[in-house]
């Protein structure tokens, strides 16, 4: 340890090296590789400023294939960036005040202070009516009872007012009220119904008008004495809805920052109050990683399950994905991103703009609340972060004039396009590039289970190349076994080993293919824990390391170690061995004060160990990542 450190500080003071480094890194990585590879490695000391120069001088042999970006407006970036940020801060105010007058025509030109009260009330009374209006409609015959609810309610007698109100809320098919004219017609109908009710019973009407026009002081008291039970309760219900809504909005507003420091107790407390998922923090955490969230595993899932029906604003599809993240049913950057986007697609399809709101702002807020829920289930991956940024930007860019159904269709197709272009086509391109690097007689090593690597191997096998695969795996997830299973079934010849044996097996390996969760702009590869170790060993053995990563996973962040941003897994997973009851040496020790378990999920591989990154834009050296981020981020996020 000590000799290594001193040697490093002396030999290269330029680069701060944190993480995995072999003692006395070889000055030139090379050999066992075609000459092209050498070019690629050429920039020996990476620093992001040099990258440009390097490119300009780009030699013709370089495998870097970066086409020029299609359109290049230097200032669009800034403008659109502004657009994106502004709705976030301002949505809560403007959305309400602008549209009130059009919605509440029947309010007799109320005073400006009272208007605010009305504004809160009228939208909320829509859902409120639903529960209260219908006194258990007891209909004895089967057929009559369960007509579509909007119709069956008519049997309830004097509830005609509510029937009108009900419809938009109750039945999904009617949710998509598309045109203004339609809405107007509905208002008209409501007003007519109200008038009818007035004629019927003065009591009811007086209560109703009280509800609507009651002054800003204490509306609830004004309504309570009203003798008609129906109205009173309706009012109570509506009030309750208002109550519900406030915290929801709160939650949206200050959703936990994705990079919250979890060692700050006051902030953690605050976040807990907002959280949907019950989060019991593990007490014994490793000192270095105390800033990362770590929860008592096993408490979250049952708790979230019990709340299944209580989370009104959450769309079921989003909820399901959240549960799957939490239980580990879905993992891997691509899969999580796709699952999230498919859930969002469902949510957008079912979305309808509430009255007095604009789609752009309300939908952005809605998506944000979904995202904060997903974060509570499991921290976002970089791929998801980028995808969310893309979606929000697409929403913000929707022209105001677009009708709701059109806007929704646009967004859905945008999502489809993203999945298609950034994930599916990207993977195909990566496979095409990477296959050229596989030659007959190769021994390829991979770690964990990367979807891109799997596809490369399968494709190469289909092309008839003769090669062998070494699958390196690690506890506790043993994802490699799944990969192995699929590869073996396809007839590839495989070797399976655990990461502890990687130094032995590395001797016969000719290439290392790795997947990545993200590639950061200093070339650091952020990936499943253990990747850095494999890359380091490969580097020591002078085996080229090829990292396969779609460009949408690139991130402009610079990260030098795997400490500041990481994720902590379930510590139980490493203290117990699944299926081996006899290995129980740690039983009863887990809660000891002086024992800390660390189950890291990711690590950072320094760019020095990476020979090449294969992306959908071609094969690039790790030093070129900032270029991709800079040139293409604009295209795929801000275009």
């Amino acid at each position: 340890m000590d000799p290594r450190r001193s040697a490093r500080t002396v030999s290269d003071p330029k680069v701060r090296q944190v993480g995995f480094f072999t003692p006395a890194a070889p000055p030139e990585r090379s050999c066992s590789d075609p000459p092209r590879q050498q070019d690629l490695i050429q920039p020996q000391s990476p620093s992001s400023t040099q990258v440009n120069d390097h490119f300009r001088s780009g030699d013709s042999l370089s495998p870097v294939m970066i086409p020029p970006p299609p359109h290049h407006h230097s200032d669009t970036l800034h403008r659109t960036a502004l657009q994106v940020t502004s709705p976030k801060t301002a949505f809560s105010y403007s959305a309400r005040t602008v549209t009130i007058p059009t919605e509440n025509d029947d309010v007799p030109s109320s005073l400006s202070p009272s208007r605010k009260v009305v504004a809160v009330k009228s939208p909320s009374s829509y859902p409120g009516v639903r529960a209260s209006s219908v006194p258990a409609s007891e209909l004895t015959t089967v057929s009559v009872v369960n007509l579509p609810p909007g119709i069956s309610e008519k049997a309830g007698g004097g509830a005609s007012v509510e029937v009108q109100n009900d419809r938009p809320v109750r039945s999904k098919s009617l949710k998509e009220k598309t045109s203004k004219a339609e809405r107007r017609a509905m208002q008209e109908a409501q007003r007519a119904a109200k008038a009818a009710a007035k004629a019927e019973g003065t009591k009811a009407s007086s209560a109703a008008t009280k509800v609507v026009t009651s002054a800003n002081t204490k509306p609830s008291k004004a309504a309570k004495p009203s003798s008609q039970k129906n109205d009173g309760s309706q009012f109570a219900a509506s009030e309750k809805k208002v109550g519900d809504r406030a915290p929801e909005k709160d939650r949206k507003k200050d959703a936990p920052h994705p990079r919250m420091q979890y060692d700050d107790t006051s902030r953690v407390e605050k976040a807990k109050k907002r959280a949907v998922v019950k989060q019991t923090e593990v007490r014994n955490r490793v000192e270095l990683f105390r800033h990362l969230p770590q929860y008592e595993h096993g408490t979250q899932l049952p708790d979230l399950e019990t709340k299944f029906f209580e989370l009104d604003p959450m769309h079921p599809a989003v909820y399901k994905v959240g549960l799957q993240y939490l239980s580990g049913d879905i993992r891997g950057g691509n899969a999580r991103c796709i699952a999230m986007f498919q859930a969002f697609k469902e949510a957008i399809k079912d979305y309808s703009t509430p009255p007095e709101k604009t789609l752009i702002r309300d939908l952005t807020a809605r998506i944000s609340s979904y995202v904060s829920f997903l974060i509570e289930c499991r921290p976002l991956s970089v791929s998801m972060g980028n995808a969310i940024k893309f979606l929000k930007n697409q929403i913000a860019k929707l022209p105001l004039a677009l009708s709701e159904s059109e806007a929704k269709a646009t967004l859905v197709s945008d999502i489809d396009r993203f999945i298609n272009e950034k994930i599916i086509v990207a993977e195909k391109v990566i496979v095409k590039h990477a296959v050229t690097k596989i030659r007959d007689g190769d021994v390829l090593l991979t770690y964990g289970a990367s979807s891109a690597v799997e596809m490369i191997l399968l494709h190469a096998h289909e092309l008839g190349k003769q090669f062998r695969v070494v699958v390196v795996d690690s506890r506790p997830k043993l994802e490699g076994q799944l990969l192995l299973r699929r590869l073996v079934r396809k007839g590839l010849s495989c070797t399976y080993t655990h990461v502890n044996a990687v130094s032995c097996i590395m001797q016969e390996v000719t290439r290392v293919f790795l997947g990545a969760s993200s590639v950061l702009s200093n070339g650091t590869v952020y990936s499943r824990v253990g990747t850095a170790c494999v890359a380091m060993v490969a580097h020591a053995f002078r085996v080229p390391v090829l990292v396969c990563c779609e460009a949408y996973k690139f991130h402009e962040r610079v990260q030098l170690d795997s400490i500041c941003f990481n994720e902590l897994g379930n510590p139980d997973a490493i203290s117990k061995v699944h299926g081996r009851e006899d290995i129980n040496y740690l039983d009863g020790f887990v809660n000891r004060e002086n024992l800390q378990l660390l189950n890291l999920v990711y690590d950072a591989t320094p760019s020095d160990y990476v020979s090449m990154i294969i992306t959908d834009y071609g094969m690039i050296p790790p030093t070129s990542v900032p270029v991709i981020v800079r040139e293409y981020r604009r295209e795929h996020l801000w275009s």
Partner: protein, 461 residues
Amino acid sequence: MDFQVVVLAGGSSKNLTPLVSKELPKPLLPVANRPVLSYVLHQLEQNNLKDLIVVVEGEDTALVVGAWISGTFIDRLHVEIAAVPEDIGTAGAIRAISHHLTAKDILVVSGDLVSDVPPGAVAATHRRHDAAVTAMLSSIPVSGPLDSGSSGGKDKAKKLGRYNIIGLDPGKQFLLHIATGAEIEKDARLPKHILRAVGQMEIRSDLMDAHMYAFKRSVLQEVLDLKDTFQSLKEDVLPYLVRSQLKSEALSNRTPQGEENGNEKVTSQNNQVFVSRILANSSTPSFHDHSSENPDGSAPTRKTHKCCAYIASSGSYCVRLNSIQAFMDINRDVTGEADHLLTGTSSDPNNNIGPSPKLGTKTTVGPHCMLGEGSEIGDKCQVKRSVIGRHCRIGSHVKVVNSVVMNHVTIGDGCIIQSSVVCSNVQLQERVVLKDCQVGAGFVVTAGSEYKAESLARKEK
């Protein structure tokens, strides 16, 4: 959340014969002075499930139950009541209302379930696994009265007959085998292909089916359509689904996807395949996936569906009221250890123990008792572990132990009632001794008579 809730309230029940009648159908049978149905409805209400379909056997019953619901849950729940003919079974009941089911998933709850397990947990498990059916299992409750050992032996014999055999996978998430009561005689047959696919099966007999299911609507409707003979969800539909989970015949698990793709371009279909492969590869495969794929790794040819189980945690309370013994137990538990089921349920605020009743001198009311509003008790009485309904008149020197006395019961002086159920409007004249008896509504027990382990009811006219 795209769930529809169906409460199978039932109607008359043979198991509870002297207790239930035309006037007092099973859903309204008072448990701790509240209809048993209210426990389910209240729990659903707490879980924010406010749109319910209550299925009741018989039109008259439906009227009675409907009147009660509208009186109690007005403004709180949106309940629709469907009356179905009697004796068509639970599956038949669902079949009768199946054209009203529109949501993606259906939650079916039995109306006689007294439990504090959140239905959301079942629903969430169902959704997470994208299962065809999810059943809630709970540990079998301790049956029989706590102190009196007289009927213990008999109860045990009864319980043996009600064994459920439930097979679970090692992760306790999937149902692999289920056989209930009547099917089990001496030997149980296990499906070999499932066993082979999973590799390991845990057989439990200490779990019972709590009769709270989440069904995928398409699957449920299809099964009901295909199998006309299926009578009961528990004994026919669920075992069928479990049995056929690895070779579901016509279950539309994956067909809708194909339909959607029909008019789209071929490329997008390829993409969908691609996407689904990424998703499938990244998730932990269950045995369903393994068994459905061919050994050479080509695409799955056999359709499968998942049958999940949600096992209620040991601390929760979950009992079905399906026998007189269960009725006694629930009454005891709800007033005793599981009294959290009562608190906060505001259908009747006068449920507290003994504020309003008038007690005579030297009368003792023990713990775990409940006295309804307006009941009067004479001098030197003893009430232990019992529930006494509203407006009862109890004379002097009366002993009530481990019993349930419903509303408007008149009990004469010197009666001794042990482990019995006395229904509404019963008149017990002086010095009646009842032990392990059930007295039907409106019955008059003549003075001085002694009964043991009998059920007394008025003759139907």
